[in-house]
């Protein structure tokens, strides 16, 4: 009994993931439980996961960044606009990366150097960027004139694996290494744990925070590019849903692997739970609003598990 309790506490979120998979497999074995569908799921969650990687960094330094959705939309519209006006896809992507890097830098400087509260600050910069996006796109959807070579990113596969999934896994591996194996990762977690102690230990906390905001902005940027390529069109509010879902994934992730801390593989489990729920419920023809209700309930459950574990310590 005690062992079961311990297992539940430590791996509760993983069990939840497993439970969902078993449930859907039992209900729709021929459609859900297939290699094809799982590959499909990795593609479906790729954009969410890329944004959520950024959220993981932000949570690791105990800050907030509410500008993800705006960056995703902006990057999409900006890249599409440039390509439509005849600029090569690679150059368009590079230019958008440059701008988003600047935007992340701005967020970082406002929060780290000017010590503004990150929640409100990024809400403001997000609103600002949203306005720019509408101004740039004149509020319309861009779809004609996007070159086919660009659509490969979001729509084609290599050796049966979608390119979007490959990009996602590459970014996961990169951030896993960066956060858990390097001195930069240690610096990041120390800033989140206790900034004063980190500073007194010789960590340049402002630099760390600024870099984290840049990394987060770049991930949202990449997500925006993949999104446009997948849809074949760019909409000025296309990124809307990714903000809360990415934090949901990252929060779910704090309950697995690295206890109480945001971590990449945990975030991946979180994104999988959200993605599989959406996938499975769609297969079952469950109305969309029920999917939101389930997702909300799962996040609350995960937070309760986390709280239980905390009270164990004292």
């Amino acid at each position: 009994m005690i062992i079961l309790k311990l297992l539940l506490k430590k791996y509760g979120t993983l069990f939840a993931l497993l439970g969902i998979i078993i449930l859907f497999s039992a209900l729709r074995p021929t459609i859900f439980f297939t290699v094809r569908n799982f590959i499909n799921i990795t593609q479906q969650i790729s954009i969410l996961m890329i944004v959520a990687i950024g959220a993981t960094y932000i949570l690791a330094i105990s800050e907030f960044d509410l500008s993800f959705a705006s960056i995703v939309s902006f990057a999409g519209v900006f890249v599409a606009g440039l390509m439509v006006s005849g600029i090569a896809p690679w150059l368009s992507i590079l230019l958008s990366m440059g701008l988003c890097l600047g935007f992340g830098l701005l967020n970082g400087i406002l929060v780290a150097k000017l010590k503004l509260p990150s929640f409100v600050t990024t809400l403001a910069t997000a609103t600002f960027l949203g306005g720019i996006t509408f101004w740039y796109s004149k509020g319309t959807i861009i779809f004609s004139g996007i070159p086919d070579s660009f659509l490969i990113i979001g729509q084609q596969s290599v050796a049966g694996i979608p390119i979007a999934s490959i990009i996602m896994f590459a970014l996961i591996l990169f951030s896993w290494y960066l956060l858990s194996k390097t001195i930069f990762g240690r610096a990041v977690y120390s800033v989140g744990g206790n900034q004063i102690a980190a500073r007194y230990s010789g960590i340049e906390i402002n630099k760390v925070k600024i870099i984290v905001f840049i990394i987060a902005a770049l991930h949202s940027n990449i997500a925006g590019v993949v999104l446009v390529s997948k849809l074949g069109s760019a909409h000025p509010t296309a990124g809307g849903g990714y903000l809360l879902q990415s934090y949901a994934a990252a929060f779910l992730g704090t309950t697995v692997f690295k206890e109480g801390e945001a971590n990449i593989w945990g975030t991946f489990v979180g994104a999988l739970i959200i993605g599989i729920l959406a996938n499975g419920l769609t297969i079952l023809n469950v109305p969309y609003f029920l999917q939101d209700i389930f997702t909300g309930m799962i996040i609350i459950a995960a937070l309760i598990v986390r709280m239980l574990r905390k009270s164990e310590v004292t």
Binding site: I183, R186, S190
Partner: protein
């Protein structure tokens, strides 16, 4: 009436274990009306556990508790309060933006109809208590605007808000000035004469001898001594606390080398520091003594790059030294063990290993920023062995360790690498007798290896016990004098400190 009154509290055969440790092993004690007992022991000996059991925070695995001859079960903090137990805990528990009154009455606010707080009545009561303490305090001030020592006074006042028959104090004086300690003791003695029984937990043996009637020594969770304070000498008590097998070692005498580690010239900050000039050579231990606000902490903050707005100049190892932030200072070889270890020294929920690694990241970096985990781990374990840190696994989070062991971890993190200049700001606040002796020994052995050491302290006993090469006494931001090691005594230090 002392010691002859009726028994108020009786604890019988109390035991408590935590994963991997037996925190208390069959401890019994009795407490009579108007009696003051002192509980001493090293960090991790079980003192705080005992207090927390009385407070209803922990539940004992075994044992019974009687109050006024009837058995009680202290399962929750409000149970303890129901039986007239009041506490001054080791940590400050305050809501920063609440004022003094709200904090003193936290969770026990007196209300009028409809749950409206009766501020007037509460304020009057607090002011009465302040008056009986001879302590002046602006009760409308948000607590975060008060100095740490004033916040502690509020923490103590909080215990007095309700009528109590037993007062339990766990290291209440760690952050108080000498005068405030005096005020506190007078008040405690007054209420004990009125019949309140007092349990006083402290590392400061002077206080124990001054205040208590009876002394209880805990070691490794067991009661190893109990007796009237007249029956035992200070040295005997220290041996009881640390155990026969670990008697005191004699400090090696530190010899000053030729090379200068650091030179500080005409350091000034408006309203904080006035033309502070001193130098430190290799192997030298410099004590810095001063009251709060004397500028002692500011000197350390400038050297460590925390304060960057100042006039004057500094050198380190013969080169100009102007750190813009602590990172500069650390990479130049300056270490600071800060005063407020909980907030400035540790990341409580992170592992011991992660905490130890922080100042040493750049020494253990390989290609692609990789942190050499294994290599660091073995070095870290070595240091902790030397410091006798009591821990289970290096992956455990620091918050699982006892207070003293946490402090040893803070020290350990600065000892993995060889720093040129080590600054200790109040190094032994809250550290037990055994660890304190060991720390002094360590300071001396670092000096022998040629490090330059600055020890900042407001504890005169500590200054004398460390026996530094020189003591620099500060007053109102300026140096009021230096004392060579053979001149160091209480009278001279106080004279320089208060002037005249």
């Amino acid at each position: 009436m002392k010691g002859n009154g009726k028994v108020i509290l009786e604890m019988q055969g109390i035991s408590k274990s935590f994963p991997g440790v037996k925190a208390l092993d069959n401890v019994s004690l009795t407490l009579k009306e108007g009696e003051i007992i002192g509980i001493v022991g090293e960090n991790g000996a079980g003192k705080s556990t005992l207090v927390k059991i009385l407070a209803g925070i922990y539940r004992p695995v075994q044992g019974r508790i009687f109050i006024n001859d009837s058995e009680v079960y202290l399962n929750y903090p409000w149970d303890a309060s129901k039986y007239g137990l009041a506490f001054v805990h080791q940590q400050l528990n305050m809501v920063p933006f609440f004022d003094v009154v709200d904090n003193a009455y936290l969770g026990r606010w007196i209300t009028k109809q409809l749950g409206v707080c009766d501020k007037t009545t509460m304020r009057k009561r607090i002011e009465e208590i302040c008056k009986s303490f001879n302590f002046s305090l602006d009760t409308t001030m948000p607590i975060k605007n008060l100095s740490i020592s004033d916040q502690w006074m509020v923490q103590i006042i909080r215990a007095f808000v309700k009528n109590m028959q037993i007062l339990v104090m766990d290291e209440p004086t760690a952050a108080l000035s000498d005068e405030e300690v005096q005020l506190l003791f007078e008040t405690v003695q007054k209420i004990s004469k009125q019949g309140t029984a007092i349990v006083y937990v402290s590392h400061k043996l002077n206080e124990i001898f001054k205040l208590c009637d009876r002394i209880i020594v805990l070691r490794d969770g067991k009661k190893v001594y109990e007796g009237l304070k007249e029956k035992i000498s200070r040295i005997e008590l220290i041996i009881k606390i640390i155990g026969e097998e670990r008697k005191e070692s004699i400090f090696p005498v530190s010899e000053i080398g030729k090379n200068t580690i650091t030179e500080v010239e005409n350091l000034s900050i408006p309203n904080k520091l006035k033309e502070v000039t001193f130098n430190l050579r290799e192997g030298e231990i410099l004590g810095v003594y001063g009251l709060q606000g004397s500028g002692r902490t500011e000197v350390a903050e400038v050297l460590f790059g925390i304060r960057t707005q100042y006039e004057g100049s500094m050198t380190l190892m013969g080169k100009p030294f102007k750190p813009c932030n602590p990172a500069d200072a650390v990479s130049a070889g300056v270490a600071l063990v800060p005063e407020d270890r909980m907030n400035q020294g540790l990341i409580l929920r992170h592992s011991i290993l992660d905490n130890l690694a922080l100042p040493n990241l750049l020494q253990y970096v390989a290609k692609f920023g990789y942190f050499k985990d294994r290599k660091f781990r073995s070095n870290a374990i070595n240091i902790m062995k030397k410091l006798k840190v009591n821990y289970r696994k290096i992956e455990d989070s620091v918050e699982l360790l006892s207070g003293g062991n946490q402090q040893k971890v803070v020290l350990s993190k600065w000892l993995v690498k060889n720093f040129v200049l080590l600054i200790f700001d109040e190094p032994t606040v809250g550290v037990d007798v055994g660890a304190r002796r060991y720390l002094y020994y360590l300071i001396h052995s670092l000096a022998i290896k040629g490090h330059g050491i600055i020890v900042i302290s407001s504890d005169i006993e500590e200054m004398i016990e460390i026996n530094p090469n020189r003591v620099m006494v500060m007053r109102e931001g300026a140096i009021s004098g230096f004392l060579q090691s053979e001149q160091i005594d209480r009278g001279r230090i106080l004279k320089l400190c208060y002037g005249g």
